[in-house]
Symmetry: C2
Subunit: 314 residues, 2 copies
Amino acid sequence: MSVEKCEFKPNVLVVGAGAVGSLYGGKLAQVGSRVSVLCRSDYEAVKAGGIAIISHWGDFHFSPDRVVRDLGEWAEPPDYILVTLKVLPEIDVADIIANAVGPETAIVLLQNGVEIEPAVARAYPDNEIISGLAFVCVTRIAPGRVEHSDYGRLVLGRFPSGRSAKAERLRTLFEKAGVPCEVTEDVVAARWRKLLWNAPFNSLSVLGGNADTQKIMQVEEAVHLARVIMHEVRLIAEADGHPFEPNAIERNLAETRVMKPYRTSMLVDFVSRRPMEIEAILGNAIRAAERYAIDTPYLKTVYALLKLIESENR
Amino acid sequence: MSVEKCEFKPNVLVVGAGAVGSLYGGKLAQVGSRVSVLCRSDYEAVKAGGIAIISHWGDFHFSPDRVVRDLGEWAEPPDYILVTLKVLPEIDVADIIANAVGPETAIVLLQNGVEIEPAVARAYPDNEIISGLAFVCVTRIAPGRVEHSDYGRLVLGRFPSGRSAKAERLRTLFEKAGVPCEVTEDVVAARWRKLLWNAPFNSLSVLGGNADTQKIMQVEEAVHLARVIMHEVRLIAEADGHPFEPNAIERNLAETRVMKPYRTSMLVDFVSRRPMEIEAILGNAIRAAERYAIDTPYLKTVYALLKLIESENR
């Protein structure tokens, strides 16, 4: 038996082959995993020609093992289901993946927001849930065509916490493919830390009238608003048992000030008239705050305004 | 001497002959007042042909006594200066009217917002300041052309409070011209009452992505946000000595729900890329709240977002 045969080459099913799913599914395929994809809007293009990925890590082509429109007839349960769907109230992940989940399948939720795992964990109490965060600038620029312009680091961790051999194996694969990947034993804390930035900057980018990060940082009142929203996120995360380091807010603001102008995912969705992840990014945080009896007027204001602007936009 | 000659026909100078100034200046001219106008952007058109007013009260034409670009050479101080300029940090009313104010001139501030009078009152401590509110839908549709589509009631009152013979005389003139007009002894209270509606609905109309009142009222979270902003305005007005009737907020919301869809003045300014009265409508309220140590997170959030969106818009 050759060394190569001994390597771990799992079967992977990517559910939602948009920008994020195509990039990370494609990287796993590059190192020998058998990667199939479920995709809807771009099914024809991907089925016919796979996915071209223009990446700052090097361009490559991703030819999925199978391309399907639904999982109606899925025979062989994959080792990993990589869920890269947007988090929207109308998308029921547990239901979508039902036909593909086997007893040994790990469900990897590579999605935005906080508290997005419990519904899936409740539906699959005997499966391992791996929660994941992608720090990446990647955009679907046409059917079957994805542009990965910057960043790309992943953070993975067993939900709700703890060590995970399956997450470690996935990390090994990603790193072999050149994807920076970290495994954490407290992925919920990592989600709150990401929300510290996402909650204010996604909101302000849309409500501020198509504002990139640099424009936001140029308006004193906007920076102050970002700061007080971050303070509310900090209080919720602390109540949830995940305190931040003391200077987390100011460090985040300072980093945002020097980074190149960035348009948030919510802004990109908004200008494309696609649904925004308002509930995942803000609604879930506000509901957590209510659980802990924390008042969050700043979060609630941007949440309400986003609900209003979305009702106008769609 | 005929009866007509005995009537009070004051000299009036309208400063800022936009939509509001043209309508009310024109109505005073209809009943015999000598009305001159200061106008800048539309000077040529108004000088040449006066102002055509299409009004639901009946169309009419307003030929000002004099049309000027500035008050450099103003000889005869008017009985009333009717200031209908927008309230913006870069517009110094006291300075603009300086050459026209005589010892008997009453300065009428027919403008939006709260706490807009003190700067003018300080500059002219010996002149009567009449503060005024216009409840009117009126728009300048072209140079020298104004459309008055709905409402039109005025509320006038001596600033800071009390009876005023000059306000009463002005009311008599307006009523003779068919303009519903009320004189109040507490015009500051009237300004806070108007702000109760203006603060939430101006803000939400712009930040909600071009939302008229009907669209705002259809989104539950937006209605709730309007309510909590109104609650903050109520607290400030109370601290300032001007309590509202107990059901003021719910009555305002109920009336807004049944009124025909309305686009706020701030929204109209925003979509025309003109400056919005953010400071007059929100900034002054927040500064009053700070004076009384009242926390206003909802007002401060919409204020910061409006400052951001304005920085994008201009």
